[in-house]
């Protein structure tokens, strides 16, 4: 079975600063995808960034980047130049062919950006 662990239930960051959210996962699969989803208060979950396990290069999307350490099974999200609109719950998710088509989500990290 796949498990995803987010060890930081809550975090805060000053506006314009950088913050890193951690995620670890456990799997015996070699081919899989990792995702970070953002769930703003009372709004829909949206994709932030995606990483294919077979790619060594870390994914980057504007102010969002990941540090993917396959051997350590770690997938952290770095948010640079934090903005008030980044305040949300952030979920790390795992999916693989071996796990069917279902996402395995972590328990989430609540991020607050302080003005």
């Amino acid at each position: 079975a796949q498990t995803v662990t987010q060890s930081q239930p809550e975090m805060s960051v000053q506006e314009a600063e950088t913050v890193t959210l951690s995620c670890t996962y456990d799997t015996s699969e070699n081919n899989y995808y990792l995702f970070w989803y953002k769930q703003p208060p009372s709004r829909q979950m949206i994709l932030v960034i995606r990483q294919e396990a077979y790619k060594q290069q870390n994914a980057t999307e504007n102010r969002f980047s990941v540090n993917f350490q396959k051997a350590a099974k770690s997938f952290s999200l770095k948010i640079s130049d934090s903005q008030l609109g980044d305040t949300a719950m952030y979920f790390c998710a795992f999916i693989s062919p071996g796990s069917g088509n279902q996402f395995y989500f972590g328990t989430g990290t609540s991020l607050t950006v302080i003005p």
Partner: protein, 114 residues
Amino acid sequence: GAGVSQSPRYKVAKRGQDVALRCDPISGHVSLFWYQQALGQGPEFLTYFQNEAQLDKSGLPSDRFFAERPEGSVSTLKIQRTQQEDSAVYLCASSLSGYYNEQFFGPGTRLTVL
């Protein structure tokens, strides 16, 4: 274009009542997923459709839960004889075919069972 929509957004049911939750996926999306999100938790997988075929229902917590997608578009999640532990947000997501594609989520239906 329109995203994934769900209705109702909020539902209050008395214990023992049946409820039906609707999901309208993005047009053309082959895959449809249902998740249950308890308060303070991440979403947990319930079931998955590829077109009208329910390919995985391993996450349904009991035989009181039933999902269908008869024409390969709109889906309904039905919960019979609701219990208090069924209280949660039920999320629907759709995607293009393939496990690696981004799943687009709806706003969810918050179910409260009294």
